[in-house]
């Protein structure tokens, strides 16, 4: 069975032959959607953006975990991954709304965010955006919920952040979204996660300069990791740091490649060194 619902600002597809587990998987993703949407004024994320500069905002275990993971990747990557910077940029471009009582951001980066004992504080007004990590996290909690409901295998794909679990491999094709050059790669995924982050074709009238320090000549970056949350965050880090992300990939047992504008592939990380 394969179902698809519009969630997390993208299409979430779940494949599983256990109907109850599939519902549990979607329910888990809907919960993450409710908690971490920047568009809903009453989501936990929006409450952080509205109030956490005034007083500590208590959050659920899920939001806490995503923020912890986001901060961890910010530290490890020296700010290449930064939910505060990303939020400021998204707000500036009108991609996420500023809610009625939400202050203009004054903090430029992640060091102004503090997460302690399930409470979140902002040392200055800031606008967090978890778009770079929450989709991957949602995929992971869906997989956990599906396993708990008794599914032996399945696949969850949230608009390119995907994870397969259980027996058997899932063939995945990575399409270059600009796709005039036909750059297409193939991965057999087995009990692992895959995330792809792509630039936008210029002819859509959009640019991909939001990805800081973008590597010239690449149209997309794909990371394979043991979980989708890390794979999701690492795509942004690989975009920003290029081959300098090799040690971070290695430390989390992840691997990556880029599709170049001419459709060829470029290995990143240990394999690139070995080659």
């Amino acid at each position: 069975m394969r179902r698809c619902r519009p969630l997390l600002g993208t299409f979430v597809e779940i494949e599983c032959d256990h109907a109850q587990a599939m519902e549990q998987g979607f329910a888990a993703i809907e919960r993450v959607h409710r908690l971490m949407s920047a568009h809903k004024p009453d989501s936990e994320l929006s409450r952080i953006n509205r109030f956490a500069h005034l007083r500590p905002v208590a959050v659920s275990a899920e939001t806490f975990e995503v923020l912890e993971r986001a901060l961890r990747w910010s530290r490890l990557s020296n700010g290449a991954f930064d939910a505060v910077h990303a939020g400021n940029a998204a707000l500036g471009r009108g991609l996420i709304p500023r809610h009625a009582d939400q202050p203009l951001p004054r903090a430029a980066h992640w060091t102004w965010l503090e997460v302690q004992g399930a409470c979140v504080r902002l040392l200055k007004p800031a606008c967090l955006d978890l778009g770079g990590i929450a989709k991957g996290y949602a995929v992971d909690v869906a997989v956990a919920a599906m396993k708990q409901a008794g599914a032996a295998h399945g696949l969850v794909n949230a608009g390119g952040d995907l994870r397969a679990f259980g027996v058997g491999t899932s063939p995945v094709t990575i399409v270059d979204p600009g796709s005039r050059c036909g750059g297409v790669a193939h991965v057999e995924l087995r009990d692992a996660a895959l995330a792809t982050s792509a630039g936008l074709p210029a002819e859509c009238g959009l640019s991909f300069d939001h990805l800081a320090g973008i590597h010239p000549g690449w149209v997309s970056v794909t990371v394979r990791a043991s979980n989708a949350c890390d794979a999701d965050a690492l795509t942004k880090i690989v975009w920003a740091l290029g081959h300098r992300s090799a040690h971070l990939l290695a430390a989390s047992g992840a691997e990556a490649f880029a599709i170049r504008a001419d459709g060829s592939l470029e290995a990143i990380g240990e394999q690139a060194l070995a080659a």
């Binding site: 394969r2 179902r3 698809c4 619902r5 519009p6 997390l8 600002g9 993208t10 299409f11 494949e15 032959d17 920047a38 990303a86 471009r93 991609l95 778009g131 770079g132 929450a134 989709k135 295998h153 696949l155 608009g159 390119g160 995907l162 397969a164 058997g168 063939p171 995945v172 094709t173 990575i174 399409v175 979204p177 796709s179 005039r180 036909g182 297409v184 790669a185 193939h186 991965v187 057999e188 995924l189 692992a192 792809t196 982050s197 792509a198 936008l200 859509c204 959009l206 939001h210 997309s220 394979r224 043991s226 047992g253 992840a254 691997e255 490649f257 459709g263 592939l265 394999q271 080659a275």
Partner: protein, 183 residues
């Protein structure tokens, strides 16, 4: 997890004649009947199609910012016994290139109860004629997955096509408010 460079491979691209129209691939998730059963289990469905007048189209566009694509909106009333359980609407929006067909279930008082994608069609360029690439669409074994919408996304993670579905749902809610709420 180090398996060397072989964990991914490049798919060769077939050279194609420009005159051949771009093929369309469709992923079908649910038929209308399956979606009805999934969203309103055990209920009966009474067709309630609406053929829009020009005035109605205009009113919907004014309320929601978008005109309906279809001349006739496919709508069913879901009934549990002799009570109205809600409304079931089938609609389509343009995805990246082609139509996405989806179903929306509304409660009897017009709140969204669920959204399911029924069919996702996309037109591709030349790469689709590569037989190995085309194979991906056949779904020849369980677990076969295809990453279609991989990543036209902006920083907040919203894909353009999913925004179109969100806009479509808003239009259906306007359709409900104008034409069904008092039905």
């Amino acid at each position: 997890m180090s398996t060397g460079p072989s964990w991914y491979s490049i798919l060769p691209v077939a050279v194609v004649a420009a005159a051949v129209p771009a093929p369309v691939t469709a992923t079908v998730y649910l038929s209308i009947e399956d979606a009805q059963r999934a969203m309103f289990p055990g209920d009966r469905f009474i067709p309630h199609p609406i053929a829009f007048t020009p005035e109605q189209r205009k009113a919907i566009a004014q309320a929601s910012g978008a005109q309906p694509y279809d001349k006739v909106q496919r709508i069913w009333e879901a009934r549990a016994g002799d009570k109205r359980a809600g409304w079931f609407m089938v609609d389509r929006v343009i995805g990246k290139h082609d139509y996405i067909t989806y179903a929306v279930a509304l409660t009897a008082d017009g709140a969204v109860r669920g959204v399911e994608i029924l069919e996702y069609r996309e037109t591709y360029g030349g790469e689709i004629r590569n037989p190995k690439w085309r194979q991906q669409f056949v779904g020849k074994r369980p677990g076969a997955a295809l990453k279609l919408d991989s990543d036209i996304k902006n920083i907040s993670g919203a894909t353009l096509s999913s925004k179109h579905v969100a806009d479509g749902v808003r239009r259906l809610l306007a359709t409900y408010a104008l034409l069904l709420a008092r039905a």
